[in-house]
Symmetry: C2
Subunit: 154 residues, 2 copies
């Protein structure tokens, strides 16, 4: 079974290489970008201005081959690819929660961006606190001290 | 540009029809399901057992044609499709945060499920509180009273 999607737009950022991208957008609050939604889909942006954050779903277009075991950026041990957020996935789909700044016709300005320049955008969904926040959630292998190092280093 | 994905597994639930599905999993805490990850991808599940919640990315296989304006389930006004979570999207990709109960080889048991039986699974990502929770996030058109009605009615 094959599933075929077409981009609804593209994501424009200053991140030109994979090595430049922050590990997650929340670790790079100053990182800005734009979204160009292709004009034929712009009507779908109606009412988006009320949300403070958006979930972007996109294609990791420079992911290369996938692997089922991979060292995550925040750890030294190989983990299963479905236990980490690395891009080397069987279906290289990325999701990012970004801060939404403004919209002008089919162009959206965003912050807290960890996405490479030119990334094909597949979908935009509103981040809805009632549905997306799980305050009782527990991390697995990820250790606080590794994240804190990143935050201090950023 | 066409982007081609292949399912890594399928989602098995008691929800046989779209009209049976809860609006979001968090509104149906008792709703259970299973994930069958196809055996060739099972190695990618290593280390997943430490997480309490997973993000499932899947194909809305019964979505039908898309529309750019749609009334959401929780409102009476037409909204842009990128401002709501409805399945009638240009790329019918669904995301759900589910509670992760257990894993046995390539089978995962989950709860808080809002996904139709037989849904093709594209990816699993760990829900990571440090990256996925935005406690300062603000809802747009969604009104608390509509959600509260759903919670009381469930």
């Amino acid at each position: 079974m094959e599933i075929v999607y077409k981009p609804i737009g593209k994501i424009l950022t200053s991140l030109k290489e994979k090595t430049h991208a922050p590990i997650q957008g929340v670790l790079a609050p100053e990182s800005r970008g734009s979204i160009e939604v292709f004009p034929e889909f712009a009507e779908g942006l109606k009412d988006i201005e009320g949300f403070s954050h958006l979930i972007l779903i996109y294609h990791f277009h420079k992911s290369g081959d996938y692997t089922l075991l991979k060292k995550p950026f925040l750890d030294k041990t190989e983990r299963g690819i479905f236990s980490i957020r690395h891009y080397s996935r069987p279906n290289p789909i990325g999701i990012s929660v970004v801060r939404f700044l403004s919209v002008n016709d089919n162009i959206l300005e965003i912050a807290e961006v960890d996405i490479l320049d030119g990334t094909p955008l597949l979908d935009i969904k509103p981040y809805m606190p009632k549905f997306d926040i799980r305050n009782d959630a527990r991390d697995g292998w990820l250790k606080d001290n590794e994240i804190n190092k990143q935050i201090r280093g950023s």
